[in-house]
């Protein structure tokens, strides 16, 4: 019995909890991608940079607050800096829309043209970010590092395997739940939120009903900017902030949005969790779990990984291809790309 408990603790510590945290980050990112896709009808490749940009301004504000001696006790100072980061990103994305995408909207350009324009935005934003904060790793996490440490856990339960719960993990999951709940409430209960869904569902009929397309687009960018900043900051807190990782993060985020069903907010959450858990489960070293649960003759000496961690990003692609082949509208049913 104890060996099963040990196996479960190993899974919890290295697979389930990290999967939930990573899944929350992907879900927040995918939600932003999905909102832009359903309102502006293009795949916004600049979303990763928006996350990076938002995280960067949150970090700069965090440093400012830290220099003023502001602290949140056990919580990271970044939490109070987050609203400032959101605000700057909202202004920046609205500016990008005015400067770049509005032009193509007037031309009634095809989605692929927007997409290519968004790639241009990626390079510009990338440059701006490197110019401001530089290409190196930045650390900005402060406050308590652990809710409980591996030693605490051992003292409580006396198992040979142990579990440590990092505070950033809990903050990531809790913040993601709160933000997602607010976004869903907004989309389903408020008049503006419903008008966004109406616009995404049937643009012509929305115009006939007197829904203002400019307002819908504006609100979509505002929500996306907030989601991107929160997702980027949480990712930075959980791992560390490095500008170029966000471009790589774009792959699993798009995979999450498409796997869940692009244009479907619930799908973004489901997709985020599916991608995160698959990535971690496939690259997880099962040696210990096997040792605890299976009879001795089946034990292995190696890592018992299905794939080396280097192939992490390949996992999202494989899932993406399989979903597109079998169910192109995604798990929860969205639009076909």
């Amino acid at each position: 019995m104890e060996s099963y408990a040990n196996a479960f603790v190993v899974l919890l510590n290295f697979l389930i909890i990290p999967g939930l945290a990573y899944g929350s980050q992907l879900a927040l990112g995918a939600l932003g991608v999905t909102i832009i896709y359903s309102v502006l009808r293009f795949s916004n490749f600049a979303h990763g940079e928006a996350m990076s940009f938002g995280a960067m301004f949150t970090i700069l504000t965090t440093w400012l607050f830290q220099s003023w001696g502001w602290h949140l006790g056990p919580l990271p100072t970044a939490i109070i800096a987050l609203p400032v980061g959101c605000l700057v990103t909202v202004i920046f994305l609205l500016g990008t829309d005015k400067l770049v995408y509005q032009f193509y909207r007037k031309q009634k350009a095809a989605p692929v043209i927007y997409m290519i324009a968004s790639v241009g935005v990626v390079f510009v934003m990338n440059g701006i970010i490197r110019f401001i904060i530089g290409p190196r790793d930045q650390s900005f996490a402060d406050g308590a590092r652990f809710i409980f440490t591996a030693r605490d856990f051992k003292e409580w339960f006396g198992l040979s395997e142990s579990l440590a719960l990092r505070s950033t993990t809990v903050i990531t999951i809790v913040t993601a739940i709160i933000v997602v709940a607010i976004v869903f409430w907004f989309l389903n209960k408020t008049r503006t939120g419903k008008s966004m869904r109406a616009y995404s569902d049937n643009e012509d009929l929305a115009l006939l009903s007197g829904i203002d397309p400019d307002k819908v687009v504006r609100v979509a960018w505002i929500i996306t900017a907030i989601l991107a900043t929160v997702a980027g900051t949480l990712y930075g807190l959980d791992k560390s902030y490095k500008p170029f990782t966000y471009l790589q993060l774009l792959l699993p985020i798009f995979a999450a949005a498409i796997v869940g069903g692009v244009g479907n907010p619930v799908g973004a959450i489901v997709g985020g969790l599916v991608i995160a858990f698959s990535e971690i489960a496939v690259t997880f070293a099962y040696t210990k779990v096997i040792a605890y649960t299976l009879p001795e003759f089946m034990h292995v000496d190696g890592l018992a990984q299905l794939l080396s961690t280097d192939y992490k990003f390949a996992v999202s692609f494989v899932i993406l291809v399989v979903v597109l082949l079998i169910k192109p509208t995604g798990i929860m049913g969205g639009k076909t790309i």
Partner: protein, 234 residues
Amino acid sequence: MSFLIGENMTGGYGGADILTNCTIGVEKGEIAVIVGPNGAGKSTAMKAIFGMLNLREGKIMMDGEDIGALTPQARVHKGMGFVPQTNNVFTSMTVEENLEMGAYIREDDISSTIAQVYELFPILKEKRLQPAGELSGGQRQQVAVGRALMTQPKVLMLDEPTAGVSPIVMDELFDRIIEVARTGIAILMVEQNAKQALNIADKGYVLVQGENRFTDTGKALMENPEVRKSFLGG
């Protein structure tokens, strides 16, 4: 002069003219029906009145005011309701949300209007929490008409409201449309089912190649042997 009238409308979608000197009008509380063979410009005439098409000549007057220069959205504000032929509901949203979106331009309390729509279409009240995309064709048309009624329009324009529904549902829809007209709303509709539509029409317009061929009361058109022979199948 009619309450709403498109007078001597001439124009098309940019190329050759589809409408030539076409006049269509409707009075408050009346039903006007546009019928005619395929490609006669029936829907085009209605879209022209709603401002979805640039006219080269002619004018659109509502309540004595020239509204020819207004966008379709502005005409909705003036009191026009339009039900397109296809894609006329928000399929992913519930029936009630569809009605709420219909009333988007209104700032006042819409609950009494929603109640009126439910009274007119009781089935919608039953299905109010279901996505409109899951409803049958006839029910969807009811949602579409209900959505357009939410602005409390003075004129309701319907583009083939009975396209693709069964004859029984068609009769029921026509009954409802008569009820709407009785509340004092002017109704202008384009119909493929010419016989049934002319039966309920106060006024009928037979269009051929974008021109008025016959204009009379619905009853007179039904009795006109030439109309019967050419358009109503004898």
